[in-house]
Assembly symmetry: C2
Homo-oligomer: 273 residues x 2
């Protein structure tokens, strides 16, 4: 959650919602506060912060969960501060889909809804998730989640089935292989930025979504062109994220760095001239 | 070998070199002859044609070899007909690297050398292969071969090591994830064309290389722009190949179809405007 807020804050002000325990590092909170991130909706409660520990395979697109502690997250029911309720864009990060739906219900003027989810909810809370999807404009998940949700191995077929469930746009994240965006009449493919050193892919998907929604908020229009640009910005910020552990790399990355890598992305993929 | 000759023939005349047994299907020979493919260098000898049988995993980037019969290929030593020896572009398809080197030695006016190889030669004939690489302009291999050849898991690091071995350009094929092209001062990434139906990925790499070299032959220049365009043409022809078994799909695909899908590729990847 820290990653997606930081990622979005390169492009637009962010109203962050979440819950942390007493163990949440002061330095990370200070980092958030030093950017355009409103922390009024960040509850601090007794207990420990959510924690995931895993091991990545040599192929970093694969990982095993070693330890998952919901901690304070287990009892969390997000309540938006009054000052958040007129937000026009909302990104519903990966929590129980009923809670995601509850956040939506607290917004008065929403123009664009993004959502993430994971295998746990696809398997265990399918009905609530599918109900949520009819309110979602952009569903942002990874390829194995898309396969699980649709029951289809082929990603094009999977995407069509998922679009039939409601979201106007599906973003499929494929780690080091980039991302695919599907909508009723459009497909967009973008590679990942080739990096010599990947330190930690954890949270790259959150950075991707944060960068994408930040860029959409900045542009204020959500047409195909703006969406493609936003997806590339998402890829750019995600490519920085994996260069260090957690959100650490974003401490030093500036908007100028983001723009520089965006231009490198253009050079990387251009054969149109 | 049939696939790469057919793929290249969409763009330029082809002088084909190879060996087939008495069992080679008449219809396939007729198909080759019906295109701009010179068959003078295609030897027909007693015995059976090379044969590979395997099983693809659900993830079609992975496969197991069930049966490999070199047959007439085991004794093959390519000799170029006199009429081939002034060819300016040569693509050395995957055979023993000493034989690839032997083909090079028979050419008088070569301007661009492409080569493919496989794990078998990387493991068993490394020295001869590395010797060949100093004469190669474009090495076209898949990602696991690049990792094996370089001893590096990270593809950017692997690419730099391989470029140090001699080839000016490295093309890394990644199946359904597209391709990456590396040279000393340039990186180009292209996704694969998203397909709803992949029938048989066998030989897609050959079609890719054939399309790429055909396009380079047609353009006559080998600068970065021509190379990028050629790589996209390679991806286009490969995307047709996998839609049916063997080279069957290319029977009905026309140059117009190729151009149409090239334009779809531009639409698929464009965020530059």
């Amino acid at each position: 959650m820290t990653g997606s807020a930081l990622a979005a804050s390169y492009f637009a002000p962010v109203n962050m919602v979440g819950v942390i325990g007493r163990d949440f590092p002061r330095a990370e909170r200070d980092l958030l506060a030093s950017r355009r991130i409103n922390l009024e909706g960040l509850e601090e409660v007794d207990g420990r912060t959510f924690r995931w520990r895993g091991r990545y395979h040599e192929d970093m697109n694969m990982r095993d969960t070693l330890d998952l502690q919901l901690n304070v997250f287990g009892e969390f029911s997000p309540r938006l501060p009054e000052s958040y309720r007129d937000s026009e864009l909302v990104f519903l990060a990966n929590i129980q889909p009923g809670l995601q739906k509850g956040v939506l219900g607290q917004l008065r003027a929403v123009r664009l809804v993004g959502a993430d989810t994971m295998d746990h909810w696809i398997r265990g809370d399918r009905e609530v998730l599918v109900d949520l999807l009819s309110d979602v404009d952009i569903l942002s998940i990874n390829d194995s989640e898309a396969q699980l949700l649709s029951g289809e191995r082929n990603i094009v077929v999977a995407a069509r089935k998922i679009l039939d469930m409601g979201p106007k746009t599906l973003l499929v994240k494929r780690g080091e292989y980039g991302a695919l965006q599907f909508s009723a009449d459009d497909v967009f493919a973008v590679p990942a930025f080739p990096l010599e050193m990947v330190v930690d892919p954890t949270g790259a998907g959150d950075c991707f979504a944060g960068g994408m929604f930040g860029s959409l908020a900045e542009s204020g229009t959500f047409d195909g062109r703006a969406l493609r640009r936003a997806i590339v910005y998402g890829s750019v910020v995600a490519s920085f994220c994996v260069e260090d552990f957690g959100p650490r790399r974003l401490r030093s990355v500036t908007r100028d760095d983001v723009e520089r890598r965006y231009r490198q992305f253009m050079a990387l993929t251009d054969f149109h001239s």
